[in-house]
């Protein structure tokens, strides 16, 4: 393929930074009904995604730019996850700008909406590229602040405003915790730069460091919806417009987990073993509570909120492993999780356009629209981790990573918890396949985009399980 030398690796990042301005700016030059911003957004996101795929992997330490921007394998793959999430989120959101859904009015200003998603994505990119605490913190904030706005996008929807208010309040507390943690970390190490912090941590610990670590974990615990900081999530997930919920559950979660990965395998790497009990504790309680909470839900988005809380717990398990294994497992799982989750949301979205978003609306789906019911079943089984779907291999790698450093108890606990998870995922499939519909069903209509995306995602969920490309970057890795 064409030559993509080291200094060009920065191009996708720069494009992603400029891109939202172009999308929003394009609105100035065309009228409200114009499709221009939408087309530019599509083209831009996909172009950046394709460009990313040309960056060859297996580059060791990564490449540094202006001392605080690093592009390594993990970063590149995380960028791909974030972009996939952004693209799918954008496609998913498009319908909500054409008509209302789930009892909420139609949304407006798609260009700004996409811009906000792009900013959040850029925030995630900043987190995975950061080499010092300042950039790191900025990235997290850039990733979070657009989310507040996105949650309240539907100005006429009171629940949305309530959710956004709640989200801002909880988010500010989280930020406060993080800043507190960062300041102690700075106090401990005397430097902002990760490599210097790492040297300082390696040379000995002090209570200052432990306080910093605790607060950092608690702070990110809010964003990652860990127990006991998850309480905002069900309300926000339910109050936000459905596409925002989808983006929240993937982009925001991916950013938060990337934050932890960078932290644990970067500056805190020397004490990874010592903080393992904390990670294990948070992971275990989170996945347990998330699974329990999901058991009795009847609203689809609330259900997905608890499901994603539990998924966060599962991902945390992988953090216990050695760096390479853990990073691979997490990246792979995030890919799989993004695809499965969006597939579920697409199906829910189509239902939500015509009915309420509850379990009861799914009844009779298998008779009314079998292919939709099959897609739903595929996504649910994948989230539950049933072989041969991608979710199974994803969970396998997560657990393998956790088990490779000897945390068998936690892994066994997580596996047992999966039984609980399977129970509620199958409940959903049961409503779609077994339960008889009560009375008249409003017909479901699928646009061509929805149909194409659902088919593509279903195939992806099945194929990601055994396609071997993840050891290589998609385009750069193949030797044709």
């Amino acid at each position: 393929m064409f030559d993509f030398s080291t200094s060009h690796f920065l191009i996708p990042d720069l494009l992603l930074l400029i891109f939202p301005f172009i999308v929003i700016g394009s609105r100035l030059f065309c009228n409200a009904q114009s499709k221009m911003p939408w087309r530019i957004a599509n083209f831009g996101f996909i172009a950046i995604f394709i460009l990313l795929n040309f960056i060859p992997l297996a580059s060791g330490e990564g490449r540094f730019f202006i001392s605080n921007w690093r592009i390594d394998d993990f970063g590149v793959l995380m960028r791909e996850v974030l972009l996939v999430s952004a693209i799918l989120g954008m496609w998913f959101a498009k319908d909500y700008f054409e008509h209302g859904a789930d009892g909420k009015p139609q949304m407006h200003q798609i260009a700004e909406f996409i811009g906000a998603i792009a900013f959040a994505t850029f925030g995630g990119v900043t987190v995975v590229s950061a080499c010092d605490m300042l950039t790191f913190f900025l990235g997290l904030e850039i990733a979070t602040i657009p989310m507040y706005a996105l949650t309240a996008w539907n100005k006429k929807d009171q629940l949305g405003s309530e959710a956004a208010t709640k989200y801002i309040l909880m988010g500010s507390v989280a930020t406060a915790f993080e800043l507190f943690g960062f300041s102690y970390l700075y106090g401990f190490a005397g430097s902002l730069h990760f490599s210097e912090i790492q040297t300082a941590v390696a040379s000995g610990t002090s209570p200052l460091l432990w306080v910093a670590v605790l607060f950092l974990f608690c702070g990110i615990g809010f964003k990652l919806t860990l127990f006991p900081f998850y309480t905002w999530a069900p309300d926000v997930y339910e109050g936000a417009p459905t596409p925002v919920t989808a983006v929240l559950s993937v982009t925001s979660k991916a950013t938060a987990i990337a934050f932890l990965v960078v932290l644990v395998f970067g500056p805190l790497a020397p004490i990874q073993e010592q903080i393992a009990p904390l990670i294990a504790l948070l992971a275990g309680t989170t996945l347990f509570v998330g699974n329990l909470g999901a058991l009795k839900q009847s609203r689809l988005r609330r259900f997905m909120a608890y499901s994603s809380i539990a998924q966060a717990g599962y991902i945390m398990v992988a953090l216990l492993g050695p760096a390479a294994t853990a990073k691979t497992a997490i990246i792979y799982y995030l890919f799989v999780y993004a695809v499965s989750n969006y597939l579920a949301f697409f199906v829910f979205g189509i239902i939500g356009h015509h009915r309420e978003e509850t379990f009861a609306s799914l009844r009779g789906l298998s008779k009314q629209n079998p292919s939709l019911a099959i897609s739903l079943a595929i996504s649910m089984f994948s989230l539950a981790g049933i072989p041969p779907l991608a979710g199974f291999f994803g969970k396998f790698h997560l657990f393998y990573s956790g088990a490779s450093t000897g945390h068998y108890m936690l892994v066994a606990f997580a596996v047992l918890n999966n039984v609980l998870a399977l129970f509620y995922y199958i409940q959903l499939i049961k409503s779609a396949w077994v339960d008889e519909p009560d009375g008249h069903l409003t017909p479901l209509r699928l646009t061509r985009r929805q149909r194409a995306v659902i088919v593509a995602l279903s195939i992806a969920v099945v194929a990601l399980g055994f396609l071997p490309f993840l050891s290589n970057n998609i385009v750069a890795g193949f030797s044709f």
Binding site: F177, W210, L214, P228, W232, D235, L278, A294, L295, P468
Partner: protein, 685 residues
């Protein structure tokens, strides 16, 4: 031109599968189905392109073969498998006839399947089959071969049950699949055994060969001999499943329930020979294991004889051919059993031509008689369908080993090898002393007898079908017609193959082209085997004469017995009988003996164990629900409370860390906490 990538070969049929599958799915709703011209064209063009690739590659292949790794497939610390391809002398021959005959049969099927509702679906399956078969043959490691192995099994299942409106067909498909699975277990366990001997890397064929050479050179054979023998037996069990040898032969006659081109392609020419291919591919291992070789040779011998005798009593034209296939596969395994891997592959090669021609001819007969398969209702078709009759008669000469035809060269070669390579084994008597048993001679005599029987039952088929008077009803006689050109062309091409394919290795007139082309791939194994088996050279002309005499004798017997005999009017239906194939009943009953205990265990599991488990599950489930209620009530809607809760959480974690003297101490602290709670409870109670 030789820099064509190898992955192009499987890519074309795969594309064909996807394309035709899409067409089949999309057109399933419409009344008329997809246009047959387009579908048929697509169905032929993909295998043809694949064949073209193989041909180009075959011409420019270096002696040592071409190796190519496409990408990584499985990457664990314990198991690293690449998707890689190996194109050497052995896979070249296999690929040439798999793709070549596959193309011809796809072409033939356009005529045969004309007007069928599942036209596109059929060709999607055929392309999928070719893809799997190519992967099986082209792969450079056992695991990928297994992938293809399973793939062809699946396609076989799909195609046997192609007309799934009829329950009999479905049962036959099920039987084929299940019996094959029994063999697959052998394959899988064999791979595990191999892994335990040599580690995961041995799954790659190149490393496998080096490893076996290392064992042999280093004299380490004693160390691994038992395990290696077990491996060999297990792999051979896998081969008996796929290649329909005793005891897993019952599925092949039933498999004739599928459309005839399928029988020709899968159940005669290609898939069923994959067992022979695997034995040849792993020849480096088998040649060191005399006991396993003996087992292979004798299983092959008994299968050949048994199937030939059974073939005498069949009335369904396709079943005769099915048993004949089993019998010929028996010959191939006999050859493999005396380390003559090249001879067995040569027979695979020639057999592919004449058996495909026979099946396609039978298909043309069935087509012209509007679906009639019972030979008792045929007869006198020579005048009505002359081209088909000529094809069948030429292929008949090939299979009985008439001098000059393909079967003559390959079958006589096998018989010759049986004598020259056959081991002599000292058999101890119960009372003491021992006698030398010339195993080679036994194999040869039985092989020769089988050749006579082959000529008899094949003669019977030809006589009952093409000579004498037509025995069907009058109104059906009027409709008899020659097959369309699209069916005749592949038949004629295959007929040329079944006449001339044998001249690639005609020892007597000094042509050893075939042997030389395989020498790089198989020569090593054979050299080892021959050194163990103590080969003595024999005069090939003698065997040729004896083989010819056997064929002539068989044809004479067939002529005397069947030409003037009054054929009884059929009482039973000649249609495929689903799960109960006539004359294999012994093996079917033996299978039932294995199935019955499994059913008993299944019943116990269903009735007893299940109830206990269910009770246990309900209890657990109830606990889970109660806990779930608890977790839901924990969720409050007020921000104040939520924040308070979270901050309490932080405080708790900090406190725990404080009390436990750092995060490291948390587990200890938790245990201590539990202990103190326990003691507290103990005091209270």
């Amino acid at each position: 031109m030789t820099n064509l990538p190898l992955w192009l070969i499987p890519l074309f049929p795969l594309l064909g599968t996807i394309l035709l599958g899409t067409i089949a799915v999309v057109s399933s709703g419409s009344k008329k189905g997809a246009a047959e011209n387009i579908v048929g064209g697509l169905a032929v063009i993909f295998p043809a392109m694949s064949f073209a690739c193989v041909t180009v590659l075959a011409c420019g292949m270096p002696e040592s073969g071409i190796r190519e790794t496409l990408c990584n497939w499985i990457d664990f610390p314990l198991l690293h498998v690449d998707i890689g391809f190996l194109f050497d002398g052995l896979s070249r021959i296999m690929l040439l006839f798999v793709t070549g005959i596959g193309t011809l049969i796809a072409l033939y099927s356009i005529g045969y399947m004309h007007g069928d509702r599942g036209f596109a679906r059929f060709f999607a399956y055929i392309n999928l089959f070719l893809f799997s078969m190519i992967v099986l043959v082209l792969s450079d490691n056992l695991l990928l071969t297994f992938f293809g192995w399973e793939g062809v099994g699946l396609c076989s299942y799909l195609l046997i049950g192609f007309w799934n409106k009829d329950l009999k067909n479905c049962k036959a498909a099920n039987k084929a699949f299940i019996v094959n699975r029994v063999g697959d277990i052998g394959f899988l366990l064999g791979m595990l055994c191999l892994l335990s001997i040599g580690g995961a890397a041995v799954l790659n064929y190149d490393i496998f060969n080096q490893f076996m050479q290392m064992i042999l050179n280093g004299g380490h054979l004693d160390l691994v001999f038992t395990l290696l023998t077990l491996t060999g037996v297990l792999f051979f069990v896998g081969c008996t499943g796929k290649s329909a040898q005793i005891p897993l032969l019952t599925w092949l006659p039933d498999a004739m329930a599928g459309p005839t081109p399928v029988s020709a392609l899968i159940h005669a020419a290609t898939m069923v020979t994959s067992g022979v291919y695997l034995v040849a591919r792993m020849g480096k291992m088998f040649c060191m294991l005399p006991e396993v070789l003996l087992l292979i040779a004798f299983v092959g011998m008994f299968t050949a004889l048994w199937a030939a005798i059974t073939g005498l009593f069949q009335n369904d034209i396709k079943k005769v051919l099915a048993y004949s296939t089993i019998s010929q596969l028996g010959y191939m395994f006999m050859a493999a059993g005396v380390c003559a891997f090249d001879a067995s592959i040569f027979h695979v090669f020639t057999h592919a031509f004449f058996k495909a021609a026979l099946f396609l001819g039978a298909g043309a007969v069935i087509h012209s008689l509007a679906g009639e398969q019972d030979m008792r209702k045929m007869g006198g078709l020579l005048k009505k369908t002359p081209v088909t009759a000529c094809v069948m008669i030429f292929a008949f000469f090939a299979i009985v080993g008439f001098p000059g035809f393909a079967g003559f060269w390959s079958k006589d070669l096998i018989l010759e090898k049986l004598v020259s390579n056959g081991p002599v084994i000292a058999m101890p008597f119960a009372l003491g002393g021992s006698v030398n048993v010339p195993v080679g001679m036994i194999l040869y005599v039985v092989g020769l007898a089988t050749a006579v029987i082959t000529a008899v039952y094949m003669g019977r088929l030809i006589i009952m079908t093409f000579f004498g008077e037509y025995r069907g009803s009058k109104e059906s006689e009027a409709h008899i017609h020659e097959a369309p050109a699209v069916m005749l062309i592949p038949m004629v091409v295959l007929t040329f193959g079944s006449i001339f394919a044998g001249y690639l290795w005609a020892d007597m007139i000094g042509i050893t082209f075939f042997k030389d082309s395989l020498a790089a791939a198989l020569g090593g194994a054979e050299a080892v085997g021959e050194s163990i088996l103590s080969v003595h050279h024999v005069n090939p002309v003698l065997f040729a004469v004896l083989g010819t005499l056997a064929a002539l004798l068989g044809m004479f017997i067939a002529w005397r017995v069947y030409a003037n005999k009054k054929i009884p009017t059929p009482k039973d239906s000649g249609a495929p009988e689903g799960s109960a194939a006539a004359w294999t009943f012994v093996w079917d009953y033996i299978h039932v003996g294995f199935v019955f205990p499994v059913r008993v265990i299944a019943w116990i599991c269903d009735v007893v164990v299940d109830k206990f488990l269910q009770a246990f599950q309900w209890t657990l489930g109830a606990i889970g629900e109660i806990l779930g209620d608890g977790a839901s009530t924990f969720q409050v809607r007020r921000v104040r409370l939520q924040l308070a809760l979270s901050i309490t959480g932080v405080a708790l974690i900090v406190l725990v860390a404080l009390f436990a003297e750092g995060i490291v101490g948390i587990p200890d602290f938790v245990f201590k906490l539990i202990d103190s709670v326990k003691s507290l409870l103990g005091r209270v109670i």
